[in-house]
Amino acid sequence: MDFLIHHMLRTSTRVFPEKEALVFGDQRFTYQGVTDHVALVASKLCRAGLEPGDRVGIYLEHSADLVFSLFGISQAGGVFVPINPLLFPRQAFHIINDCRMKALITTHARLSSLSECLKEEHSLKFLIVVDQGKKSSVDLPMYDAEESCPKPSLEETFDGRIENDLAAILYTSGSTGRSKGVLISHAQLMSGTSIVSTYLDISPSDRILSILPFSFDAGLNQLMCAFQMGSTLIMMTFVFAKEILDALEKEEVTGLAGVPTLWSVLTQPRAKLSKRTKLSLRYITNTGGPMPQPVLQSLREGLPQTKIFLMYGLTEAFRSTFLPPEELDRRPTSIGKAIPNTEILVVNDHGQPCKPGEVGELVHRGPTVSLGYWGQPELSDQVLKPHPFLPHEIGSHEKVCYSGDLVKTDEEGYIYFVGRKDTMIKSSGFRISPTEVEEILFQNGTVQAAAVIGVPDPIIGQSVKAFVVPKEGQRFDGEELRGFCSKYLPSYMIPKVIEVLEEMPKTPNGKIDYQQLRQSTEK
């Protein structure tokens, strides 16, 4: 029985030692090969002084090293913290400090970009660097990931943890403040893996293409499913549709997960999806936002043999619902029903179950509900609460997840996404906190008031729009301010439009009237 995530790798390596486990560009690794690399990372971490439960960050591009690091940290008894490679040094540094990270696995180039931040106080005790690039001058013990050291067998390395222990912290944004770390135990990750492997019917013959970052629960889940079932994971980064379509053919990919923007890119006429007759795609899954209906139609025409699963999930509960492919014709806009071994409730403002058609908050109950946010017990209590309908004698020990997503159901119980309860923005699968963008606008020094909202976008779900009022005597145009934002924010957070106002609309009690701003863009 596998209880911890690296147990899955151990089992698959025993069963399929010579089977291809991982592909990245020209690099190909068997399960035994992956296990050897993972053992090397684990042993380095242990020798460098990692203690059980220590947090280890991984700030790397999508690559095989990312997989070795992730399982290596787990095997060494640590907690892995994948940092989205798109994040800027300052945002990565926030994550490092927030979870009191002991070690970081990264490249010399990324370390150089972090060097200014690392002059400030931080928790890091050592670094593991995976490349041979130009040495960065950071005053911390630095270990070379490739340098050989005695390889302990899997059984020899630390295995004193249990499934309730923390496996990972995934950083994500809410409606306010900086990103926060969602705590995920081994048991939760393992459950999420078994549940998704079950309904996607993943088997050892599957070849899964991974383009989503592992800092995103859906991307991480692909890796876990592949290694649990002894399948092959093909990792790649891409810009052009052709790169993906070529990889699908060349690697005989059977499963692909993406966010709506990917499907828009693949179905644009130029990509000539329907000309690709040699595809082996058994299934695709969409997550991170609703798939635009014209895109869904093009996908169904371009991929007539492929099952399309529309999924929904949030990091705090890992994965929640999916629409079975056979329901696509009847309800193409639904996010489906609960994933196996999971209960989804729709609860109204009075705490009562909603009737069909009535809008309420999606509440998730099941084995994938996270342990809350790192270091934020109050915020955790707002999201994780006792089951609303179980007798209190048994209901209080089990936490359910209040998603903040407003949904409704039809008569047959299929769920439809309606909107957010709060002001959080969701764009291209990313969660964006409006206050984090506003904070950067204020840093410009010329801004007297700033308000950021999400406006509907047919392709990316929502795009970021900012309203700003200049300080007295200051003049600027939106373009300049966007340029300023780009120095501090990754692309997906930069406002697409900045509207300059003379005055910010206010509510009767003097707060910015976001409702009015939202309505002004809808006109």
């Binding site: 810009v239 340029g483 930069i494």
Partner: protein, 93 residues
Amino acid sequence: MDDEHDIKFRVKQFLVKRFPQVDGRGIADEEPLLETGILDSLGVLDLVGFLEQEFVCEIDDEELLPENFESIDRIADFVARKCPNTPGPIVEP
């Protein structure tokens, strides 16, 4: 202004407007746009749409390769090769 400079100027004008990072971060003409994530998969589509319209040419999917879009310089080279007789901007009489 010769043709090549003109092409680069117009490409750059578009990039600066669509991708504020180009100006904000002071991206030089030879600096990478793809690996830094400035030009992403959706951004490339917008750029290609612009190039086709602005320089009246048809860009084939086979030409959508990293080497043609790596930097402002590479994009300008690609357009110059692709449309050797590129017309200037259409000026209303």
